[in-house]
Symmetry: C2
Subunit: 490 residues, 2 copies
């Protein structure tokens, strides 16, 4: 297979850019850093060249002079992005969604009456089965759905996502093309499953899976821009109940051989856990099913992890796996309340956030942050010591950014604003023309308390309308100030 | 006091209008009626003149002919609103928000770290205290906040709301003016409280409260449009801990004397319940505090009711009071999970929905419906029989419309599409130009299952952008197809 697409956004040249304004990020769990009036330089590779948090300049000329003095370099062309005059704008690292089923996007909001296992059979498998074909109508459907979900997530500030597609390799490759076209950093997980008892038409054979995985890895390695790796394959056994032992074992060795990350589901629902125990009586527990088949690595993402035993938590910690917490999905499908604060602080497990579209009805990580906090409040209602249970806003932002970066194995490349990392970022405007947040004059101050109140307003009342620009790897991939003109007359 | 405002929207003449399209409402708890291709006539009083659910016509002329044959009347002027060609548009009764603090709107999203009693002292009382003045800067502040909250709720489809303002009568009257100006049906609850231990500067004396209540009732009765009652006063003892026995008793008799509805808080938080037990040792329980002071009537709204004993539920049922369930607030402030399904089906209590701005961070009843369902799922996680606990979409819509109408004492006037009721309605467009919902071609069908799936998409993924027109009492008060031009370029 050859390059056969125009990857417009991911192929564009990156101008050296100086960003001047307020930057917010979470270098550590529960430590939110607000850099007012900082200057960040991003080079032509999309890398953060320097971060000056104590920058005093005001104009483009001053910024360029500052750059030249600081780096000893000079460039013939600069871009200067200045939001420093606007107290309601700030930059945040792009969100990282560590669990999302791209193919299920049309089902978002549908299936409320079901629990996990019925929901898979009644809604999910029939939907995904649509993609498993090579006829042209099905390919058009795949393109439509995949383009939409990439567009929606990107426009909500998700600069990196770890996706499940379907078992079909052809449309999974198309999905990889579309990610590059949109410029989103992404992990493409062709779903692997050779044993689907409840919906037998939607499965592949062991050999088909082997072929598909090999050709997909080859294809994706061929399409990235020069010197960049924006789109990567991820080894994706759907979950233990639909995989043979042989397939699980092979996927474990395939991941190791090709140095690939892994993603799957664990401990989402009690009936599912019982089913796994029945199907794998030789394994100690659900997590052991994966470790026994060499699927627990330091780049394994375990989605949900609502119901874990102490033994499982120790095993997950031992292998340095990450959890993808999907609170919206867990509430929608009545799966349960994952004790995330405990995973973070007691078990020291890396916990990131996932939308889990379409178990989760929302494709925006901002609303997942909100729901993660609310779900932790529901856990706190039954707890004796609330502070041990309730997530803070900084913790939730950390999970959505830096922990996400670690989960996908890119902790040195994305997740915070630090020298050497890639410029994957979003510009938030609390006063965007069509914003649903109302902020009153007296609330606009730049002190820490006011900023923290404004952050609360954004987390709880904001939405995609407040995310006005998005960059992946230094490239501006969403610009609503140009794409959308909104006129509101009152 | 005299009319001193131009009440533009509430004073406008109402043209006889024929509405043709899909209408969805809940005539009974858990019975959702979808009328495809129906015709509804609304007369010049804003009353529904007829509902024809089996209407077969197609053009304006046919609709007028149908009207003339059906009613034997004729009019020189008709308005014809036709959405019947668009499968993604439907009419729904306007939402009824039975618990919202207008004055707290600036605090939405702020105060996550607090529980109820601290939150009141640290955030709420200082905010409301700003309104308690007659100097012109404070009046401007009040106008700004009040205009904004009325505008936001109306634009999210709330056609009727029962508001708390502050203790201040002057700005409460201004609030009533602003409701008329915007055309929203509303209940204005000047907050009554003569005993505020934790924030003593924000309280009134018993006599001040008496004067304020009398003058407010007089003022509001003077400002409504001819032959209509759009804005009404509601007797509002804040909650037991901040009211003297004398004040509670007087407010009970004042409500009875003037035939006014009542609203207050109950059983929101465990420390609050303990405080009430300490302050009113002579009363059997929290609900008894109110019944002992003649405050439980068939038009009393009890907000929250998270933690009620069986004795309290019986007392509330006996007096035919309504509950305002505020799930978003209860999750945000970690107050608890109200067993609403049990109230509805076992206790046969009328349960409506409230945003509880700013304990609740969201001013839209659509998102309260969503959160009510999710909170019921959290209750179900601990229940043996899930179906006894989980709210359905029809139940939640019922709570947001018909139960709300009953709570505010207008069950014969609003809440469903029935002959004789007022046309308080919203037009939902799942495909509005800036909609965040994505619907794919094959999902657009008019059968019951598809409509129910689309309703799920709206409830879980939709927002204010899908509410494109709003009518109160027959008058078009929000029209986003005219007010907002949105151009999205891709």
């Amino acid at each position: 297979m050859q390059h056969h697409k125009v990857h417009a956004k991911a192929m564009a040249a990156i101008p050296y850019t100086l960003y001047h304004g307020t930057f917010i990020h979470t270098p550590e769990l529960d430590r939110l850093e607000i850099m007012n009036n900082a200057l960040i330089g991003v080079n032509q590779k999309g890398e953060i060249d320097f971060v000056s948090s104590e920058y005093a300049g005001g104009s483009q000329e001053e910024a360029i002079m500052f750059f030249e003095q600081k780096t000893g370099e000079s460039h013939s062309q600069f871009k200067y992005v200045d939001t420093s005059k606007d107290p309601l704008k700030f930059f945040l690292p792009g969100f990282i969604d560590t669990h999302i089923h791209a193919s299920q996007y049309p089902n978002a909001g549908i299936g409320l009456e079901s629990l996990l296992l019925d929901w898979l059979t009644d809604y999910t498998f029939p939907m995904e089965d649509q993609f498993t074909d090579t006829n042209s109508a099905k390919i058009e459907l795949a393109k439509k759905v995949y383009s939409k979900v990439i567009d929606r997530t990107l426009r909500s500030g998700t600069t990196c996502a770890s996706y499940f597609t379907t078992t079909d390799p052809h449309t999974s490759n198309i999905f990889a093309d579309l990610c590059l076209k949109a410029g989103q950093r992404s992990f493409v997980g062709k779903v692997c499953m050779d044993h689907n008892e409840t919906y037998p038409s939607y499965e592949e054979s062991f050999e088909e899976c082997q072929d598909s995985m090999s050709s997909m890895v080859k294809y994706i390695s061929s399409i990235n821009p020069h010197n960049e790796t924006l789109v990567r394959p991820i080894v994706t056994p759907r979950f233990a109940p639909v995989c043979s032992r042989k397939l699980l074992k092979w996927l474990g060795s395939f991941a190791s051989e090709h140095n690939l990350p892994i993603q799957t589901h664990i401990g989402e629902n009690k009936n599912e856990i019982k089913l796994v125990a029945d199907l794998f009586p030789e394994c100690d527990n659900y997590a052991s099913v994966y470790s026994d088949h060499d699927l627990l690595t330091n780049t394994t993402i375990l989605a949900h992890a609502v119901h874990l035993t102490k033994a499982e938590r120790l095993l997950i910690k031992k292998h340095l796996c990450s959890v993808s917490h999907c609170p919206t999905s867990n509430s929608f499908l009545t799966s349960g309340e994952a004790p995330v604060k405990q995973y973070l602080h007691e078990d020291k497990i890396n916990v990131s956030l996932g939308t889990d579209v379409s178990g989760g009805f929302d494709s925006s990580i901002l609303t997942i942050i909100r729901q993660a906090i609310l779900v932790s409040h529901h856990l706190a209602m039954k707890s004796n010591d609330e502070t041990d249970v309730k997530l803070t806003i900084p913790e939730a932002i950390f999970m959505a950014t830096k922990a996400g970066a670690k989960a996908v194995g890119l902790e040195h490349q994305i997740g915070t604003f630090e020298k050497g990392k890639r410029w994957d970022a979003q510009l938030i405007d609390l006063n965007s023309p069509n914003s649903i947040i109302d902020i009153f004059d007296w609330q606009i101050k730049k002190d820490r308390k006011s900023m923290s109140d404004l952050l609360g307003k954004w987390i709880f009342s904001g939405d995609d309308r407040n995310c006005i620009k998005v960059w992946c790897n230094g490239r501006l991939v969403v610009d609503k100030t140009v794409d959308e003109w909104v006129f509101i007359k009152h």
